[in-house]
Symmetry: C2
Subunit: 290 residues, 2 copies
Amino acid sequence: MNLDARLESALQDALGDDAIGSAPPRLLEAVRYAVFPRGARVRPRLCLAVAAACGGKDNTIADATAAAIELLHCASLVHDDMPAFDGAMIRRGKPSVHARFGESLALLAGDALIIRSFQVLAAGAVQSPGRLGNVISVIGNGVGMPAGIVAGQAWECESKVPRDEYQRAKTGALFAAATMGGAAAAGADPEPWRSLGESIGQAYQVADDLLDANGDPEVMGKPVGRDVALDRPSAVRELGQLESAATLRRLVEQAVASVPPCPGETPLRKLIAQESEQFMRLALSCRAAA
Amino acid sequence: MNLDARLESALQDALGDDAIGSAPPRLLEAVRYAVFPRGARVRPRLCLAVAAACGGKDNTIADATAAAIELLHCASLVHDDMPAFDGAMIRRGKPSVHARFGESLALLAGDALIIRSFQVLAAGAVQSPGRLGNVISVIGNGVGMPAGIVAGQAWECESKVPRDEYQRAKTGALFAAATMGGAAAAGADPEPWRSLGESIGQAYQVADDLLDANGDPEVMGKPVGRDVALDRPSAVRELGQLESAATLRRLVEQAVASVPPCPGETPLRKLIAQESEQFMRLALSCRAAA
């Protein structure tokens, strides 16, 4: 099975009838709706690629780590879309979870997905129990306090928002968790993998800012122009479009250069360059069209 | 240090400056506000008592397990109090988190507390890494899908609410996680401890239903009469007051009888009888006064 197929299978199992089929039916429907059909799955694919590059032999814990990262990402989208934050009615080209199921179920679906991610990790670590603590620690830092996604979102509730800290927490942290989690799942030291994840996360954020400023809502599957509408910090708003595009190119080069020594170093560099090329082309073509 | 002092110290550490001091200031304030000053801490004290009765020697993982259970309990209160559910403005005698900090921060504080609980478990298991998977699995079942707190809350979003399943999930599951988590933290098999937790949880729920029907909001630190106002299932509404009181007594006896064989069996039975006596007296005196 290739990495994509392994990931989808792990996600299907995580939310499958065998695991959670007896949950209240509408909650079940809401959590599955939040995760399927798939988005780009950028973070968990990165996680699996790093685990493979580190020479990890236990696919079960690698798959669980990648699935957990995607479940947490989906949970953050469900909660961020709620009226208390963005009030977004569309996500991945269909009504957002709160728009479809109401606020109560959206709140619970997000909670349930967060918890499910840690249940999945515990179940996936049976063959490598000694790695579980490291994996949870890395992923917890990516989503929790003091500087994970939740903290990033909470910066929006402060009167003064430090852009770097905000974006590092809101986007970079989960990318760092993806690379570091992949390493930890393979039994490698996660720390050398932080810089790669952070660079990709920053690049992705700048690309997202460019797409928000210029993108086509049909292609994106969500509304654009939200950074200005919600007065959120954005690279485009701070640096302008040309400088943002230059920053994006620089960050991608930085990411490729920061792959640490590992058995699969060369193919991983190539993969990252290829995938980055895709989202860079999308973001920069939108800029050209604007 | 006695069990109470160990628990408060573990909770202080979990939300202390060393761990999360660099988080956004209002988020930090909100999570601490949700956890301090202390409520009854019934579940984590039960967890520590079971770990001690099982002869657990690693206090670090026992303290982490108890702290995680309390953080998750507090998270569930923060989210349940929000307008999407109970819309409760008062909790533990002070404004609820959303009343004080607004809905955005209440949502994030709950998320952050859920995630923090798993970070605390990972950090607390360094001396007994082999127990971490079991502990997380037991606690995940207590709070997540298919039958933990989140599922219990989600039954409120269904048109038909099965009372037993609802209450077992909404209250019983975290009590079962407390007893089973205490056993797992001590390196014992958690399964024989399920029945004790479920019985105490059911007793606690019936007592809570009696207090909601008859209690004094000043003493309770929260509004009463909510089960009728929100049309929620309740033992008092289904069985009447006398039958509910009889059920409460029966459940407490059942709990005391269901302590499994363990090194500290006798003192644990005594402790459970004593503590149950206290909340039984409170619930039944309210009934007499009503």
